[in-house]
């Protein structure tokens, strides 16, 4: 039973590319900029430019384009669904119609635009998680949200929770695998019968797993308290350093994105 044998978690792929060396805050801000501008662009040609930009960043990250493209697979259904909705439910000049269904010229454009936006959104975000380790990501988010701390926003706690959950995913997968096997050894039949029977069959796996999760959480809490964990205000082993390179990169990126937006508006006028 090779249950869960092929799941690789944490998509982070360490290489020594310039993109990996950027400060996580720089990359998070860059990604936010991309998302904003992505939803402001409308002209079809702009999306070719987005493709080129993604290709350029992929080359810069020294990751294989296939690996980056694979990031879109989980949301493929969503992208196709969005395209369909726009294709059939946009009012305008009809190109083709059959009963209540009709495809309009505007519908085709809208479908292409929305699905491209989603597609690029996921891939640019994917590039961020491929080139930034979960720890860096959590650190970066904590620092970015720190201005909100005086308003009562728990930036440190949020980052800590994110780190802990990421850390425990592989551990819990191992535990699931073990309990799954233990119940198989006791004759549990997890892939026979109808839906209800299958769901019921998972109860002997889920209950022990929940028990273990709570035990682990309890142990972790005790261990953290034993080491005098006191939440916010901790110093870091590897403090984030915002270098001149980061400023330059973010500036250049902003200029490029501004260019894309400018071109888009010019194409539309």
């Amino acid at each position: 039973m090779r249950f869960l044998n092929h799941i690789t978690l944490g998509q982070y792929v360490p290489t020594d590319s310039p993109l990996h060396f950027l400060d996580p805050r720089c990359k998070i801000l860059g990604t936010l900029l991309v998302m904003t501008v992505l939803f402001l662009t409308r002209a079809p040609v702009s999306f070719l430019v987005w493709g080129l930009l993604l290709l350029a960043l992929t080359l810069l990250s020294r990751l294989s384009p296939g690996m980056v493209l694979r990031g879109a697979r989980p949301v493929l259904i969503l992208i196709v669904f969005t395209a369909f909705i726009h294709l059939f439910f946009t009012k305008g000049t009809p190109l083709w119609s059959w009963g209540v269904l009709s495809i309009t010229k505007e519908g085709v454009t809208a479908a292409l635009r929305m699905s491209s936006r989603l597609f690029f959104l996921v891939l640019f975000a994917g590039l961020l998680t491929l080139t930034t380790s979960p720890m860096e990501l959590a650190d970066g988010l904590e620092r970015l949200f720190s201005p909100l701390v005086p308003l009562g926003f728990p930036a440190h706690e949020m980052a800590m929770m994110m780190t802990i959950s990421l850390r425990f995913i592989p551990t819990l997968l191992d535990e699931t695998d073990r309990i799954f096997k233990a119940q198989l050894a006791r004759g549990a039949d997890l892939d026979r019968g109808g839906l209800i029977r299958r769901l019921r069959a998972f109860v002997p796996v889920l209950i022990p797993l929940f028990v273990i999760v709570f035990q682990r959480a309890e142990e972790l809490a005790v261990a953290m308290e034993a080491r005098c964990y006191r939440g916010a205000g901790r110093t870091r082993m590897h403090p984030l350093r915002w270098s001149r390179g980061d400023t330059a990169a973010l500036f250049m990126f902003t200029v490029v994105l501004g260019g894309v937006l400018g071109m888009d508006r010019w194409l539309l006028s």
Partner: protein, 284 residues
């Protein structure tokens, strides 16, 4: 009638950067009424081997046969039969508990194997009695029991399938002295009744005291396989990763090296008698 392991190799995550060879060229025979212990350091492949014996993992190379039938991933009916015949007790089995009462927990496996309703209470009672659980505990929620009692419930839940072979992965881990002794004597009793027992442990002393045969694994390869005395002689002359010789063995070895006429033995009583005899001869 036996579990036969032939030239077994297992590679985890084959073809990925995480590829790891856990077992390589292991041969083993487990016969009914015999006790085989598997010892080795952490990561030596002991647990991996245990999971091959009832079809939870499959050979990358080689074969595992249960009563003459080879285990294959694509033969679910054969696997079910094998899993019924070979009971597997995982390390910390109390973590697999899920039912609302102890008797429901013990009934889980026999019910899965399709036992008749009339026989079920009888089987549950028999298994509970075997592991020394009082009748009053049968209606209790297993999560309210102590650690040692939980372990007994988990063990009973495997015994209730009435397996011909029993594979146990570190069953004494975390038990106190009394609990350990009781568990080992239960296993001896099961062997006398004709069940085949495979005990996976890192405790060489336990293995030497009870087994008919011992398999010593080092980094997934067989270091030694044979009767306790043969294995002991092989271990005494070598250093195997993660294996520490029991103090009595070390003592007998030291005496032997100094010319005393004693065998290398893990048994303190035997050694004491021999020392007393040799000592007297020195006096006269």
């Amino acid at each position: 009638m036996s579990i036969r392991v032939t030239d077994l190799a297992h590679v985890y995550h084959q073809g990925t950067p995480l590829e790891r060879r856990a077992l390589d060229g292991v041969n083993l025979l487990v016969e009914p009424g015999s006790w085989v212990s598997v010892v080795g350091h952490t990561g030596s492949g002991k647990s991996t081997l245990a999971q091959h014996l009832n079809g939870l993992l499959f050979a990358t190379r080689g074969e595992v046969e249960v009563d003459g039938v080879p285990l294959r991933e694509d033969a679910p009916e054969i696997l079910r039969q094998a899993r019924k015949k070979v009971g597997l007790v995982f390390q910390y089995p109390e973590q697999q508990l899920f039912a609302e009462t102890v008797s429901e927990e013990i009934a889980f496996a026999p019910r899965n194997w399709g036992i008749s309703k009339e026989r079920l209470p009888e089987v549950v009672h028999a298994a509970a009695t075997r592991v020394g659980l009082e009748k009053a505990l049968l209606g209790v929620n297993p999560f309210n029991l102590s650690g040692g009692q939980k372990r007994r419930v988990a063990l009973a839940s495997v015994l209730a399938s009435e397996p011909d072979y029993l594979v146990l992965d570190e069953p004494t881990a975390g038990l106190d002295g009394k609990g350990k002794k009781e568990l080992l004597s239960l296993l001896s009793q099961l062997v006398r009744e004709g069940k085949g027992v495979v005990l996976v442990t890192h405790d060489l002393d336990t293995a030497l005291a009870h087994s008919h045969r011992i398999l010593v694994l080092e980094d997934g390869k067989v270091f030694a396989l044979g009767a306790p005395q043969e294995v002991l002689d092989a271990l005494a002359g070598a250093s195997v990763r993660g294996i520490v010789l029991p103090p009595v063995v070390e003592l007998s070895q030291g005496l032997k090296q100094r010319g005393w006429k004693v065998p290398i033995t893990p048994d303190a009583t035997t050694l004491y008698a021999l020392i007393a005899k040799e000592g007297k001869r020195c006096d006269s």
